[in-house]
Amino acid sequence: MAIKPVTVSQLNEYISRVLGTDPLLSFVTVRGEIEGIKYHASGHVYFSIADEASRINCFLPREKAAGLKTLLENGDSVVITGGVSVYKKTGSYSIYVREIEPEGAGAAATAFDELKAKLEKEGLFSRAHKKNLPEFPHKIGLVTSDTGAALRDMLSILDSRNRLVDIVLFPVLVQGDSAAADITRTINYIDENVDDIDVLIVGRGGGAPGDLACFNDEALARAIYKCRIPVISAVGHEIDFTIADFVADVRAETPTAAAQLAAPDTAEIMNRLKAVIEGLKAHASNRLMYETLRCDNLIMELKSSALKRIDDAEKALSSMGTVLSENNPKKILKSGYSIVTKDGKAVSSSSELSEGDRVEILFGDGRAKAEITGV
């Protein structure tokens, strides 16, 4: 015998340590059918789960058993999450149950898919029904737990982005059996009684799938659909999708993202405004310059046109004046010429006269009578 024998206790102690430090065995999810269930007087529940060929003992401690929603019975198909541990007294091992659900994730997932399909068919997820978020909300309603991380995250974002927007908190349960009804009632209340809220954020921080289950509630989905105020859903993390996400007007990946979507960044708005004002100024100044030039040009044109008109008029007038002066009879007479008239009319040709005609001669300063003695 080369090896020194160990005691039974030592062996079980060693096995316990090996199993207890194995990462897979300390957190395992296993599916099976319940056998040999026993509700012990201490409140603990003992049973096994089995498949066709194999079985394993399970131990459900009293505090977990108290949270059971339905009575576990032999033959139930369940999914168990827990750690494998060794009971050193009998050298047996069992699953120390942390969570137990009726076949399970499966059942919940099926219910989820069925509800999703049903509501989709009814048009609750229709894009056409989705409302746009207000660009500049005055008041944001937060429907979430007043103690959760989600509220803290959202307030911190809102505080840093936008000091102008008012925030109203509607505290609700976001976990547990009555959470869905509480959130539904609150949304309906806001929809019917509050008329100064521009956008609602409904949500909670991340958690186990079971913790988010209240957001997969049908009545809640209908309340969100009916709500006349735009609703942003903000449930859990990026990877979590709930019915509320599908029916909400906008789905935010996280409460933080929801706060960013709901409230515009005032600093960014100021920058945008400044850019617009600068643009306006530049445009106005350019326009002014352009119009000034145009006016100058017009005025020059106008002036030259007016001057040309005057000039033309002057020329026309001057030629008229020349005509008048040239034909002024007195001027001609003053320079030594005289006019011969016969019967009051000027004689312009000697052929108009014959011997013996009596004529009158007009001078610049008088007239004289004469008789034609020869032509």
Partner: protein, 61 residues
């Protein structure tokens, strides 16, 4: 003498046509001249005013 430049100018044209007509009497020709000169002065006055106004505006622009 009143009326627009064009009215005065029209009269002036008529009179300068008439004064060229050898068939009119000498007295009529003289009165044509005298009347024509009145219209001429009137036109001149209107043009002078117009020029002055232009100069005034020039100072303003």
């Amino acid at each position: 003498m009143s009326g627009t430049f064009e009215e005065n100018m029209e009269k002036l044209k008529e009179l300068s046509e008439k004064i060229k007509d050898r068939d009119i009497g000498i007295e009529e020709a003289v009165s044509c001249y005298e009347e024509g000169m009145k219209y001429y002065r009137s036109c001149e006055e209107i043009l002078k005013n117009a020029k002055q106004k232009m100069e005034k505006f020039e100072g303003e622009v």
